[in-house]
Amino acid sequence: MFDLSAQLSQRFAALQSRAQFYSLRYVRQTSQHLCVRKNVAEPPHLSSDEGAMLTVRLNGVEAYAATRDLSQRGLQAALEQAEQHASRLAPHALLDLSDQPVATARADYLSPHLNDAFAPLADCIALLMSESNAVPKDERLVNWQVSLGLENVEQIYLNNAGAQIRRAQRFVYPGMTVTAFDGSDSQTRSLGRDNFGQQGGAEVISNCGLVGSAAQVADQALQLIMAPNTPNGPRDLLLMPDQMILQIHESIGHPLELDRILGDERNYAGTSFVKASDFGHLQYGSELLNVTFDPEIPEQLASYSHDDDGTPASKQFLIRNGLLERPLGGALSQFRADMPGVANSRASNWNRPPIDRMANLNIEPGDESLEQLIGGIEHGVLMSTNRSWSIDDARNKFQFGCEWGQLIENGELKGVVKNPNYRAISAQFWKNLSAVGDASTFKVLGTPNCGKGEPNQVIRVGHASPACVFKQVDVFGGDA
């Protein structure tokens, strides 16, 4: 672990720069992706990647250069390239960062169980094959696959103010999908995959519930192709955690990103319906809504001690009792907007610069069991597992779809419905939050696939949530 740390520190110390501030962020990632599809093992995909980003601040202007060449000469060349950019484009720079404070911390952060060896590759393939073989024989089941992704990431951040922040993490992504086809319509049911990932070791596979799940996942795919479409019209909506994470992500997370509010993302990811002046004033949701930035749940995907600019991370309420308190803005955005934020300046890799990202963005549990949530609904629908997402560039008008739906009538779960979709407007939707599940309904989930930024970056984000009920939401089904 941190094999290159001493050598990097030496090389960093030997760098020559005319910049007032400069930093180095080294990242090494190794990964392994395994998949068994219809009882045939696909070839393993492995990767090994490393490089470093040098960032300089010269007369208040920041610039970066990312290099694959980690030799003394390579790092020096990158540093000089960054200096050249900062110098040449200074007359056109938007920001003067001369007075922005810099990180000075020294810390190490490790994923839980990092020192426990992960199962060997052969055992992993055997596990996937076993689950694949457990999918029942039924000619309507036309496709299924079981997968396991594993990523080991080391990052070392150094700067000329003395900071040294090291991070070693392991991310695990188990998953399964089964597709059923009736000659006209197809329906897919999944477990894990894009809706699940955690830091840690082999226990993450158990946390996902992958082992022994094939029969149930397949059965639910078959139930879906026989099910009627979700009815159209307003109903109470019970969202399970594996859909809540998408709901939080798209209609709370993105609109609260401070760089969007400052306009940086207007050409690509978009803007926000939230204004800087709304913090401390806007009633974002009902009084049941409590949203936190929480880097302290060890297994969650984006738990860490410091972000990629070296800012120390701690749990913060963004929305408390429905009132908007704080944006998702890292040190640079906080400096620009002159408001407090969180430690969420993050980069997807060594070749992309840190920007404001979601990290772990969670909804705090309430006090109702799942039975109580269902029991409180007279005319509603339960939806689970995201499969479709679309929202406007200000993160307001949205339409989301799930894999699994079940009607709720007079406080009881009824029949399965397919193609469950709903649409609403963020600024109103969260005010309809009428019940929040307790800790027994709370799940720690996340996705490795959040895209944003120019140049584009895809990053891991963690979301944890209880099941939640929303009053009178416009739900509808499909055409098939």
Binding site: V40, A41, E42, P43, P44, H45, L46, S47, S48, D49, A65, A66, T67, R68, D69, S71, A82, H85, A86, R88, H92, L94, A122, I125, T179, F181, S184, D185, S186, L262, G263, D264, R266, N267, G270, T271, N351, P353, S388, W389, S390, I391, D392, D393, N396, K397, Q399, G401, N419, N421, R423, E454, P455, N456, Q457, V458, F476, G477, D479, A480
Partner: protein, 441 residues
Amino acid sequence: MSHQQQFQALVETLKAAIDGQERFTLAYNAEESDFIRFNHAKVRQVGHVQQASVTLKLIDDERHADVQLTLCGEGEVDAQRLIDALQQLRSTLTLLTKDPYLKPNTEAWQNSNVQDVPLPDSQHVVEQIARLAQGLDLVGFYAAGPLYRGFASSWGALGWHQANSFNFDWSLFHENGQAVKANYAGHEWSDAAFAQRFALAREQLEFLGKPLKTLAPGQYRAYLAPAAMDEIIGMLSWGGFSAQSLATKTSPLQRLYSGDAQLSPLVSIDEQVSGSLSPAFSGEGYPRKDLALIMNGQGREQLVGSASAAEYGLQANGAEPWESPSSLSMAAGSLALEQILQKLGTGLYIGNLWYLNYSDQSAARLTGMTRFATFWVEDGKIQAPVSTMRFDDSVYSLLGSALEELTADRELILSTNTYSQRQTASSHLPGALISKLTLTL
């Protein structure tokens, strides 16, 4: 040493290192990129990225695995990394069973394409942008530099693709929050051509100053500009033409390819590799072919990667394993640009769409948002910008029963995608006049 020389040296290293019955493929990816972000017509973030990697696939006795490896640029170090990776793959292969879907291309093809037209100096570009954007709220992104792609196999295949390119993608915002989107991309930067493109965007911006019109949900006539069409076609490209998706019944165009549904006879879509900006060979080592994916509204050829070819008894045609088009070309129609508003009459002129996804994938029913330069038109005249609206409609309507005409002029849209690396995908698309588009929210 040049990138091509580095690649060739690694190929020779591998050839010397493999044992009797081992076979390999080696794909090379590299770029040197300037990235400049703009906000409020100023430089928000500037940087340079240089990266290079290879993907080594080792095949032995019908077993195979691959590893992607970053290269540092120092010959000896990279050669050692490659040898270490080879050993890692050898160990891995002993744990695997034979892959029934392994179908490498064993032909010794050769292909080379080098385009090294000099790129403009980034400082010059920034000065041009600053000059034209004076007094405007511009936000955008400039990416430029050389891209390198290589492929070699132990069967003697050797491909090299090298191209310099730039892509400036930007928006001009009106103070009311409305915006127009524009793009200037290619190989040869021209100050005059850029100024002309900029002036067009500036002209559109003036229309956005009128009071916003808010529409009620319902059905409207609409014109979809090529950039909006690109979003729809891009969504269909996500598995739509894939041999595996079609075989596993997850393609959104399942009913088109099974013959249970059809699009308008006006719709013909090709994967047009020849003359495109992307490499003529795939990362799997198959030469890419021109393909007629949809002809006169009916599903025809599929995109077939090597594993699909083996599994479904098809011919591999140069698709990547994910089987999406990357040089898509849609046939033009006959609608002249100057007739668009008149033919639209009363309805929506939609410049761009945004964030599409499926409401019902089996039925190819899509939802998404209007974004950038969407106008309400009455009697052939632009009346007002329209507040953001959601549509929800089937492709079999949009490009089927409701499609009236396609434009005679098409727009070449170069991908602005920079996830992991700058992409070389493109689409060549007309605009479309639609008799009804369903708005829902």
